[in-house]
C-alpha cells in the first residue's frame, strides 16, 4: 500500500465532508461567474436600456449570490478542514496504537527523536496533503477540463493550440518528481537528526552540565542546525530550477491565445467575441497548470514524510500475539524455564545457555551473578519482552508464547532495574497498572514498599507531581515508588529486578518483612547484588557466563563455597575459608 492509499483509507469516513467541501468550492467559482453576468445586465438593461424596474430584482440576485458565496466559502473551508483534521486525528490514534504493540527491539533500533518527528513534523505534511494537495488537485483538474471542453466547443483549433505546452509541463513534472525527491528526503532526514540531537540533549541535560559540555553540545547542535538550513535552502534552489519554467508555460498560454486567436480573427475563422471569451477564461487553464508544479513539488515533500511515517505502519513486532491466544482462568504463578537459550539478534554467542529453573506458586527465587551475566535478560523472557532462541519458558505449564500478550502481562508484575516513572502524581504512578485502585490500596502498597512515610512528607503528599523519569526524587525513592507500583498491580508473578539497590539496608529489611506478610503471596523473582536481598529465598540461582553455575538455598550455597559464598564473604567483611571476622 502506498502512502496515498493509506491516508485515503483512513480518511474514508470523511469522504462525504471532503467531497461536499470541494463541490462547494467549485460552486463558489460559479458565483464568481454569475455576478459579472448580473452586473452586465444592470449596465445593459437598466443603465443603457432604461428598464429601471429591473434594477431591484437584479440587485436582489446579486445580493443573494454574494450571501450564498459567503456561506459556501465558509462551509467549504470548514468541511475540508474538518475532514482533514479528523483524518489527522485518526492517523495519530492508529500510529499510537501501533507503537504500543512494538517490542523492545524496535525501541532499541528507533530513536525517540526520530519517532517524535514522525508523529509531529511528518504528520503535518500529511495534513497538508489532505487540506491542500487533494482539494487543489481535484478542483484544478475539474477547472482545467471544464475550461478545455468549453474551448473545444467554441474553437477546437485554438483549444489545441492552447494545449501546446501541456506535454512540456508533463515532461517537466516527471523531472520535478525525479529531482525534488532526493532534496526533500535530505530535508526530512536533517530535521529528524536535529530533533534527535535536541531530544537527547534535553534528556541528558544532567550529564551535559556535570561534564561542562555545553559548548561542545552547542557545536554539535550547530552542525545539525546548519545542515538543516542548507538542506532547506538547497531544496528551494532545486525547485527554483523548475518552477520558473512551469510558471513560464502557464503565462505563455495567454500569449498563444492572443497570437493565434488574433491570427484566426484576422483571417476570419474566429469572431472577436470568441477570442474575448477565450481570454477571459484563460485562467481556467492557466491557474491549474501553474498549481500543477507546486502540487507535484509539495507532493514529493509529502511522500518523503509519509514514507517515513509508514515505516511505523509497516513495522512488525517480533513478539506478537499467537494465533489462538491462551487466556488463563485462574493463573497460579508457577514458572518454569526449560533448556532456555537466548541470543541477541545481532550477537554471536548466546547470552543465556541451557537455563533450567522452576518456581512453585508463592515461592521466592533469588537470582545473582556478575554484571552482564544475563540476569535481566532471563527475567525479561517471562513477560516476553524477548523470546527465547531455544527452549521454553512456561507459566502454569503453558509456554508463554502461547499466552495472550495482555493476559500474560497482567499475570506478571515487574519492577525494572531502570526505573521509569511518569510525570504524573505519585498516586497515578502507583496505580499505573490499575487506574481505579482504591486510595487505601495505594497507601497500603506504598507502605509495603516503605514509600508512604517519605511521600507524606512531601508538600502535596500523594498528589505531588513527579518530574519526567522521576527527577527530583532520589534513586532509592524512585525505586520504592516503582516497587509500590508493581505491588499495586497485584499479579500472581512478581519480578523485582534489582529493585532495592539504591535503598539502604534497614529499609530493605523492612520491605522484605512487609512482602512476606502480604496476604496473597506472589511467585517472586528477585534479581539482586546483595546477599541480604535474596538470602531468604526458597532457592537462589547463580548465573555465570550465561549458565546456572550453582543453585540452592542460602545455607546450601554457603556450603558449596562457590560464587555465592565468596560474595557473602566480601559483603560481610569475612576472609574466605577463614570463618568469622
Amino acid at each position: 500500500m502506498g502512502p496515498v492509499k493509506w491516508v485515503m483509507s483512513t480518511a474514508r469516513e470523511n469522504y462525504g465532508k471532503m467531497i461536499i467541501g470541494m463541490l462547494l468550492s467549485v460552486l463558489c467559482v460559479g458565483f464568481n461567474i454569475i455576478s459579472p453576468i448580473v452586473y452586465a445586465r444592470i449596465i445593459d438593461d437598466v443603465i443603457e436600456g432604461g428598464q429601471a424596474e429591473k434594477l431591484l430584482p437584479l440587485c436582489a440576485i446579486a445580493i443573494a449570490c454574494a450571501i450564498l458565496f459567503v456561506i459556501f466559502t465558509y462551509a467549504s473551508q470548514f468541511l475540508l478542514e474538518l475532514g482533514s483534521q479528523n483524518t489527522e486525528r485518526d492517523l495519530r490514534k492508529q500510529l499510537y496504537a501501533k507503537l504500543q504493540i512494538m517490542d523492545q527491539n524496535y525501541y532499541g533500533a528507533n530513536r525517540t527523536g526520530d519517532l517524535m518527528m514522525k508523529l509531529t513534523g511528518d504528520l503535518d505534511w500529511v495534513r497538508h496533503f489532505t487540506i491542500f494537495l487533494i482539494p487543489q488537485t481535484i478542483t484544478n483538474l475539474l477547472t482545467f477540463f471544464a475550461t478545455l471542453i468549453v474551448f473545444l466547443i467554441f474553437n477546437w483549433k485554438l483549444a489545441l493550440m492552447a494545449m501546446i505546452f501541456t506535454p512540456f509541463t508533463v515532461l517537466m513534472t516527471v523531472k520535478v518528481r525525479r529531482n525534488m525527491r532526493p532534496a526533500h528526503n535530505r530535508v526530512r532526514e536533517s530535521v529528524s537528526q536535529l530533533n534527535t540531537l535536541v531530544q537527547e540533549n534535553i534528556s541528558g541535560n544532567r550529564v551535559v552540565k556535570a561534564f561542562v559540555r555545553e559548548d561542545y553540545e552547542l557545536e554539535r547542535f550547530e552542525e545539525k542546525n546548519r545542515a538543516f538550513r542548507d538542506a532547506s535552502i538547497n531544496t528551494t534552489r532545486t525547485w527554483q530550477r523548475y518552477a520558473p519554467i512551469l510558471d513560464g508555460f502557464s503565462n505563455c498560454l495567454t500569449v498563444v491565445l492572443l497570437l493565434f486567436g488574433g491570427i484566426f480573427c484576422i483571417n476570419g475563422s474566429m469572431t472577436l467575441g470568441t477570442l474575448s471569451l477565450f481570454l477571459s477564461m484563460a485562467w481556467g487553464l492557466n491557474r491549474p497548470m501553474n498549481m500543477f508544479g507546486t502540487v507535484i513539488n509539495d507532493y514529493q515533500r509529502f511522500l518523503a514524510s509519509a514514507e517515513k511515517i509508514m515505516t511505523i505502519y509497516y513495522a512488525k513486532p517480533d513478539i506478537e500475539n499467537p494465533e489462538h491466544p491462551y487466556v488463563p482462568k485462574e493463573p497460579k504463578g508457577e514458572i518454569e524455564f526449560r533448556h532456555v537459550e537466548y541470543k541477541y539478534p545481532s550477537g554471536k554467542a548466546p547470552v543465556l545457555m541451557d537455563i533450567n529453573l522452576k518456581a512453585k506458586p508463592g515461592q521466592t527465587i533469588g537470582i545473582m551473578g556478575p554484571t552482564g551475566c544475563g540476569k535481566s535478560t532471563l527475567v525479561s523472557l517471562i513477560p516476553r519482552f524477548m523470546d527465547t532462541s531455544r527452549g521454553s519458558v512456561l507459566i502454569d505449564g503453558v509456554d508463554v508464547r502461547k499466552y495472550d500478550l495482555h493476559a500474560l502481562h497482567s499475570i506478571v508484575g515487574m519492577s525494572m532495574q531502570d526505573v521509569f516513572l511518569f510525570s504524573e502524581t505519585i498516586d497515578a504512578n502507583i496505580s499505573y497498572g490499575n487506574p481505579d485502585l482504591a486510595e487505601e490500596r495505594v497507601i497500603e502498597c506504598a507502605t509495603d514498599a516503605d514509600a508512604d512515610s517519605f511521600i507524606r512528607r512531601m508538600p502535596d503528599g500523594y498528589e505531588t507531581i513527579i518530574g519526567e523519569r522521576g527527577v527530583g526524587l532520589s534513586g532509592g525513592q524512585k525505586q520504592r515508588i516503582a516497587l509500590a507500583r508493581a505491588l499495586a498491580y497485584d499479579t500472581p508473578i512478581l519480578i523485582l529486578d534489582d529493585t532495592t539497590s539504591a535503598v539502604d539496608m534497614d529499609t530493605e529489611a523492612y520491605i522484605q518483612e512487609r512482602l512476606r506478610a502480604r496476604k496473597k503471596k506472589a511467585t517472586t523473582l528477585i534479581v539482586a547484588q546483595r546477599i541480604s536481598s535474596v538470602k531468604d529465598a526458597d532457592c537462589i540461582y547463580i548465573l555465570e557466563n550465561g549458565r546456572v553455575s550453582e543453585y540452592g538455598t542460602h545455607e546450601e550455597l554457603l556450603k558449596k563455597r562457590g560464587y555465592y559464598y565468596s560474595v557473602y564473604c566480601l559483603q560481610n567483611g569475612i576472609t574466605e575459608e577463614g570463618g568469622a571476622n
Partner: protein, 591 residues
Amino acid sequence: MDIKKKRNKFNVDEELESPFDSTHLKRSFKYIKRYGKSLIFALLLSVVSTILSLITPQFSGLVVDKYIPAGNIRGLFVMAACFVVIVALIILINRWRVLITTRVGQTIISEIRHDLFEHLQKLPFDYYDTRPHGKILVRVVNYVNSVADFLSNGIVNIILELFSLMAIIVFMFITSPKLTLLTLATMPVFVIFIVLIKSPQRRARQKLSNKNSNINAYLHESINGMKVTQSFDREEVNYGIYSGLAQDVRNAWMKSVLISGTIWPVIGLLSDTVKLGIYYSAAANIFADISLGTILTFIGYVFRFWMPIQMLGNLYNNLINTTAYLERIFEVLDEPISIDDHEGATALPEVKGRVEFRDVTFAYEKGVNVLEHLNLCAEPGESIALVGPTGAGKSTVVSLLARFYDIQEGSITIDGHSIYDVKISSLRSQMGMMLQDTFLFTGTIMDNIRYGRLDATDEEVYEAARAVHADDFISQLPDGYHTEVKERGSSLSAGQRQLISFARTLLADPRILILDEATSAIDTKTELLVQQGLQALLKGRTSFIIAHRLSTIKNCRILYVADKQIVENGTHDELLALHGRYYDLYTAQLD
C-alpha cells in the same frame, strides 16, 4: 530565594508568562534586521515584478482593439515577443526574490534556534525537572520551523501588499473621488471586524499550541516508558488518553478555523457590496456626474483593491499563528538563568581539594528544607562517604557542591574560595560527577567514555575503561569499543552502563570526584576489583562517595546524613564504637 514552580504535566496547559507584545515584536525584528538589506532588495524586486505584471493586461486590449481590426499580423508577433520577454522577466525576478527570502528565512530561524538551544544549555536542572521534556523539544524544532515563512516572505509580502493597496487607492482617487469614498466606507466595517476577531483568534491559536504541546509531551513519555506501559498492560488506558489529547488538538484546530475562516468570506461580502453599491448608484443615478466609462474603469480598480486586502487577511492569519509560536519561543529565551556566574566571578584556581560546607540550609521547594545548618569539611585528598537513609539528602549535598542548585543560607567553599565567587565552568570542570542516572548518548562506547574528556586519546579511553574493569566486557562485544550504544541501552545491562559512565567520569581526571551510587548495579566481585583500581586513582583527589553497600566505603571517613544534618562523623571503627545509627545500619547488613 528560589521558589520552585509547580511541576507541569502532559495534560496541563502551560500558562503563558508574558503574552506577545510589542517588545516581542521588537526582538523578532532584531533577528530580521541583520538581513534588512536583503529583504529590502527582495521587496524592490517584488515591486518591479508587480509593476511589470500590471503591464500584461494591456496587451489583450491592444490586440483586441487595434491589431485585429487592423489585421496587423506582424504587430501580433511583435506583441507576442514583448509579452514573452516581460513574462520571462517577471519569472526571473520572482525566482530571485524567492531565493533571497528563503535564504534569509532559513538563516533567521537557524539563528533563533541557535539562541534557543544555547539558552537551554544554561538553564538549571530545575527547568528540566519541572516540565515534560516533550514540551521543550517541540519548541526548539517544530515551533521554530513554523515561524520561518512569516519572518521572511510574510514581512516582505505585508509591505508589498500595503504598497499596492496604497497605489490602488491613489488610482481610484484620481478616477473618481466620490466612488473611492464609497469604497473606503466599507473599510471601518472591515477594521471593526478584524479588531473583534483578534483576541478570540489569538486565544484559539494559543490553545492550539498548548494542545499540541500536550500531545507531544504525552507521546514523548509514552515512547520512553513503553516498556513499563506494556508490562503493566496499560495500553488501552493510554490509548484512551492519547485519543483524548488528539481530539483536543482537533477541536482546538477547528475552533481556530471557525474564527480565522471568517476573514475570506467577509472580504468577499464587502467587495460584492461595494461593487453592487457602485452599480446601483450608477443605475439609480445617484452620482449624476459620473459617466459609465468611469464606472467601468473604477470597477476594475475595485477588483484590484480587494486583492491586497485578501492577501493581507491571509497574512494576518499567519501573523496570529506565528505569534502563538513566537511567544512560546521567547518564553524559553526569557527563562532566567537562575544559576549563573555572579558578577566578577573568577576562574577557580587548580583545586587542592579542601571542601567546606558551613551552616548550609537548602530547600528544593520553599518551606521544605532538605538540609538545615549542615556543616561538613573535607581535607585535600580525603575520601568522604555519605551514608544514611534513602532521601536524607546525600545526593543533594553533592549536587550543591557542583552548584546544580543554589543554597538558601550558609556557605560552600573549595580551598577557601566560595563556589559562588568562581566561574561555574571552572568549578564543574574540576569535578568528576558520577550521577545516579547513568545517561548514555547514542554513539559508540568510545564516544561515550570520551565525553569525559574530548581530547583524550584512544589509549587513555582504554585506560579509563580498564581502571573500572569495563574493558573486560567491552572487548568481548562483537564491535568492542565501537559498539553502538542504543538509546535505551537495551543491549547493555544496567551494571555495564554504570561501568561505562564510571569510566567517563574517571577520564575527566577531576580534582574532586563524586561517586553517587556509582556501583549500585554492579556485582560485588567486580565492585571490589573496581575499588582496588580506584584506590590508586583516588590518591590526591578529594572524593565523595555515596553507597549503600557499606563494604564499599570502609576506607573512607564516614558522614551519616539524617535529620537534615550530619549526625555522625568518623572512621568506620570510630562510628561502630559509637553504637549509634551507623552501627545499626552496619549490623543490619550482616546476618
